[in-house]
Symmetry: C2
């Protein structure tokens, strides 16, 4: 009888979030529940933007990753959500769960990782909470303010919009394979690049702020649940579809795929822990949006278009292939 | 050699926070690091007020407490910090760590506890994050705005100020003893009161808002680390001392102490998980402050005075007894 109960493992993260949402009283909110960030009105035109994302040692931190890197990453993954909405974070709070065996040196490393992560994106850790826990836990809460009318949401893409990304995909997936299975191989600087995408991820904050300022983006999402999953999210919430004319595969991922006889497209579409911004841009604004991102040292790569047909497809020589709605999911996925 | 390393257990929560603070870059902040809440300037007169406090199943939740109660408490303990600063919370985010074995019913209970906790204090849970973890973790981040000049901080008590509390102490300590050791006894409605102080704690938000509005409070702190510890915190940060003329012991705690042959003063001074506000009030404003709190259905009880002599003392018939600087500390204390 007991096995009939639906446990978290069976429900999966997305269903759990749905159940929680059903039991919450939600106020009138400037950003819909479930977007990359939450927000609440401060005055007529300003909103407070809030985000919390928790890093759990057991599931989110490969054993080769240092505490410094894990703490820094906990900040970066929250900044990435702000980046995708075009919002500069003003301050972070951090609630820590620390196992009893952690040493003074461990604590110092964690603090330095938090501070470096925050300073890299011109924000600060201004407070927090420390607790004893079985797992190593870094729960970050990020705060900023924004003009309500310039927030880039997930649900406003229109058929005909240009689909673009701020960089190439697949490196964290390939990097995780190198870390978790010795049968995978890669040498030299490509190996370094793949591993660093796991150990020292970057948030596209400068790019996101530039996109927010230019006002030409119709919808935007951070890609931490993977490219395919994130595209399906924008599609579902905006009631559009996508036709990709290419998959933005990083060179090192193509190399990794060739050496290890795996599919580079799979690594790029269905991995998680990617921190690129995926955005839809009004066609008439494409050149201006691209130049705005390039002006801050970034890149904006067209990979397809929003369409009126629901679903996400990849065009390969005139043939349309389905891009599935899957990616990383807590409780279900395994590193 | 390994045993020479200072582990979290040996360092204790307070030293760990010190180490973290030493490695953080802190901006100019309207509220000093380590006060009940953190804050950052929004404009000339308004500050964003932020708080994060994490509840960890293993250390913070007695086994007789339901998931509903634990989730509700996670909200309440954050609201209590806002209450002590006189700030109405506008919104909460919640990052959850859930063990794989948790069921759909468990998730629903947690969501209802979060929502009820928030609605009780006229705030909302507007977003969050769900993760797999070994422990049950509820990490709450609370947000609100406040007028910078009316925030009640810990560091502004002056010698001569009246020391007051919003209620009586010791119930959670007595309640925890009833829950953790069958040798402790108590029957009837007193038992209910003691247990409910653990299961369904209340934050003194109405009282805190009234105190903030009246502008007569020089310093204030929430008492979740215990009465004695909290008094020492205000004393240290304000560079004053305290002379108590009584210990605010709840009737049920006196009864519990008598039946179980333990010290009621100890239970009231050195326990934790208390959510009363401790405030110092300018003497000329005492009656107005007391009336302001009574007008919202609360009480403000004078228990002593701030003095120029450092340390916290209790006056018993003209004899001065030392009140020690101890209370609940993560990593060191045990339930």
């Amino acid at each position: 009888l007991k096995s009939k109960k639906k446990t978290a493992t069976k429900l999966g993260e997305h269903r759990i979030i749905e159940i929680i949402q059903q039991h919450l009283t939600l106020p009138d909110m400037p950003v819909p529940f479930g977007d990359d960030v939450s927000a609440i009105n401060i005055d007529e035109k300003t909103v407070a933007v809030l985000k919390t994302d928790m890093l759990v040692g057991k599931t989110d931190v490969p054993k080769q990753m240092s505490l410094y890197q894990a703490a820094r990453k906990a900040i970066v993954m929250n900044v990435s959500d702000f980046a995708s909405k075009g919002v500069q974070p003003s301050a972070a709070l951090v609630a820590l769960g620390l196992p009893r065996k952690f040493t003074q040196k461990d604590v110092k490393e964690i603090a330095c990782g938090l501070d470096d992560g925050a300073r890299e994106y011109r924000t600060y850790v201004i407070g927090g909470d420390t607790n004893e826990a079985s797992d190593f836990i870094v729960s970050v809460a990020l705060f900023g303010t924004a003009n309500k009318s310039t927030l880039m949401l997930r649900n406003r893409a229109k058929a005909g919009d240009i689909l673009a990304v701020t960089g190439l995909f697949g490196k964290p997936s390939a990097g995780m394979r190198l870390l978790s299975d010795k049968n995978f191989q890669m040498e030299g600087s490509s190996r370094e690049t793949l591993l660093n995408s796991v150990f020292l991820p970057k948030a596209r904050l400068a790019e996101g702020l530039a996109l927010g300022r230019c006002g030409l983006v119709s919808a935007s999402i951070d890609s931490s649940d993977g490219l395919a999953w994130s595209l399906h999210e924008i599609a579902r919430l905006s009631k559009v579809g996508f036709l990709l004319d290419s998959i933005p595969v990083a060179d090192e991922v193509s190399e990794f795929a060739k050496v290890n006889k795996v599919d580079a497209s799979d690594l790029s579409l269905y991995g998680g822990e990617e921190y690129e911004i995926i955005a839809t841009v009004k066609p008439e604004g494409w050149n201006a949006a691209r130049r705005a991102v390039e002006a801050v040292g970034g890149q904006l790569l067209q990979i397809g278009k929003a369409t009126g047909k629901s679903g996400v497809f990849l065009d390969v020589g005139g043939q349309s292939h389905v891009v599935e709605a899957r990616g990383w999911e807590h409780f279900r996925s395994q590193i």
